[in-house]
């Protein structure tokens, strides 16, 4: 689109954004922050939007989650400056120490903020928590209250089939 024609709009936008962002948000580091803004604007242009009216929606994160995201980003920035490689051990301890609800928030934050490392780390942790678990155990771990047999069951027969589905076929 007409990127050259609206330089003023672009700068104004960045300026406003920087003011609006909280202090803790800027601790994410300039690279990540500008990446987020750039990505949001790109997608806005791609969908045919106007520069003067860009609104950037930042993911709905709680202070706790944001603190964790920042902890992750800071650690990774430090370690990549020092040694050039990231510590898998630190990653494991970091993700292993959070509760399920927080894990979901971190996964979502990693996705929304396009922090691929965090997204992958959380995804593999969630996947790992399911390995070798029975349906009942998965329901407990992820606190799923929805009961397959009573609610939303389309017919009693289908519910019955659902219940015996897997353990019956595979031992």
């Amino acid at each position: 689109m007409e990127k050259q024609q609206t330089p003023f709009g672009f700068h104004k936008l960045i300026f406003i954004l920087l003011i609006l962002l909280s202090v803790s948000m800027s601790a994410l580091g300039r690279d990540i922050l500008s990446d987020i803004i750039e990505l949001k604007i790109e997608s806005h242009i791609a969908s045919g939007g106007n520069f003067d009216s860009v609104t950037v929606e930042l993911p709905n994160l709680t202070g706790k989650t944001l603190a964790k995201v920042i902890e992750y980003c800071k650690k990774h920035e430090e370690s990549s400056e020092k040694t050039g490689e990231l510590s898998e051990k630190w990653d494991g301890e970091f993700i292993g120490g959070v509760e399920v609800g927080m894990l979901m928030d971190l996964f979502l934050a990693g996705y929304e903020l396009k922090i691929k490392g965090l997204n992958d780390l959380a995804a593999s942790r969630i996947g790992g928590m399911m390995l070798g678990k029975t349906p009942e155990e998965i329901r407990v771990i992820f606190d799923i209250k929805e009961d397959p047999l009573c609610k939303k069951s389309k017919s009693p027969k289908e519910g019955e089939r659902f219940a015996r589905d897997n353990p019956w076929a595979f031992q």
């Binding site: 399920v100 349906p135 595979f170």
Partner: protein, 381 residues
């Protein structure tokens, strides 16, 4: 009330499927499916089935036989982390007991394609297509002109990526002897069944004697070696059936085999890195795998020096091959040996499988439903 974070049910479905679910082992996904209706609907979606198939690691199906030689059960083992991931802490193998589901059936496994297994029943001329993961099956009507003797009938099952159709091929050996002229004739009658149509079509016949009962399915074509008797006349041939065009054609073997008739006896067809391959285990000193590239050129892809390895089965026919993510090649040899070969460490590995009588074939698991084939009568195990 304190905020304890999001629930897994609050996450956007697309990222749950893309980032978490599609790379989990099949067994875990099956358990996941039973957790609640939301999860079940995700798994039933065709988008998920397609994505899962793309990311699905190869599997080995181990067929367990009963004392009469019929299929009694099979186990599906994913080849992701370990060649034979049957360690107690991480057991991802799935056992499917056929004796429980089909108590009196005399079953053989024909072939598998995209997670569907094709089974044949010896007494009733019946062919069954099933997806044990779903768990659904359907039984095909019997072919029209098939031979009455079940041992003279062979089946093949395959998928055509171009048309998206699944087809079953029935090959009946018809031998006639004329006492007046003392001549005998032989032909294989070919009948084709496309899943969803409920009819068999006769697509002609041909006159070759196939070696082995099951062919190798590669990219929409199925290949058989032609029997050694035929070899005298036509030394370097094998035969293929194209699931798209339904035509048959001859394909030459690597030049080596047209000169050396003896080595032809201990070669086998296989599937390696998306290509057809020929495994030559006739020499005492080495094993060679020739790969048939897309341009129709044979290249010698793998060469293993057997003398440096212990416990290597000598000149038996290699029946099946699969390549693992770390580059190991898993091979199954006649006389019930399953072993893998590692190129980096130059070592071979044997696997112990419980039960005495077994066979092995390649497989992928999938979450495709047989209900996609309208007109078929799909049953649930």
């Amino acid at each position: 009330m304190d905020y304890h974070g999001s629930s897994i049910l609050d996450l956007p479905l697309n990222i749950v499927v893309d980032d978490i679910l599609s790379s989990l082992p099949t067994k875990t996904i099956i358990h996941w499916r039973c957790v609640c209706w939301t999860f079940r609907n995700i798994i039933s979606d065709k988008y998920f089935a397609n994505l899962h198939l793309l990311r699905s690691p190869g599997c080995l199906v181990i067929h367990h036989f009963d004392v009469d030689g019929y299929l009694s059960a099979y186990t599906v083992n994913e080849l992701k982390d370990k060649p034979y991931p049957n360690s107690p802490q991480h057991n991802q193998s799935m056992k499917f007991d056929l004796k429980e589901n089909f108590p009196r059936a005399k079953l053989h496994l024909v072939c598998s394609a995209n997670g569907f297994l094709c089974l044949r029943e010896s007494d009733a001329h019946a062919v069954c297509i099933c997806n044990p993961v779903m768990p659904e099956y359907l039984i095909l009507p019997p072919p029209e002109h098939t031979h009455w003797n079940i041992w003279k009938v062979d089946y093949a099952f395959g998928y055509c990526p171009v048309t998206g159709q699944y087809k079953v091929v029935c090959l009946s050996r018809i031998e006639t002897h004329d006492p007046a002229t003392r001549s005998s004739s032989y032909k294989l009658e070919v009948e084709v069944y496309t899943l969803g149509t409920r009819t068999w079509r006769n697509t002609g016949h041909f006159t070759h004697r196939l070696r082995g009962r099951s062919g190798v399915l590669v990219n929409g074509k199925i290949y058989w070696l032609v029997n050694a008797e035929e070899l005298c006349e036509c030394p370097d041939s094998k035969w293929s059936f194209d699931f798209e065009t339904e035509l048959t054609e001859h394909v030459s073997l690597p030049p080596k085999f047209s000169e050396d008739v003896f080595s032809y006896i201990s070669i086998s067809l296989g599937f390696l890195r998306c290509c057809l391959c020929v495994c030559d285990n006739s020499s005492y000193s080495d094993l060679a795998i020739w790969v048939f590239n897309e341009g129709g050129v044979w290249t010698r892809d793998v060469f293993i020096c057997k003398t440096s390895l212990r416990n290597w089965p000598f000149v038996d026919v290699i029946k099946h091959m699969a390549v693992l993510e770390d580059g190991d090649i898993v091979m199954f040899c006649a006389w019930e040996n399953l072993f893998s070969y590692n190129f980096n460490k130059i070592s071979s590995n044997h696997f112990n499988i419980s039960g005495r009588y077994f066979d092995v074939s390649a497989h992928v698991t999938s979450f495709f439903s047989l209900r996609e084939f309208e007109g078929e009568n799909v049953e649930i195990f």
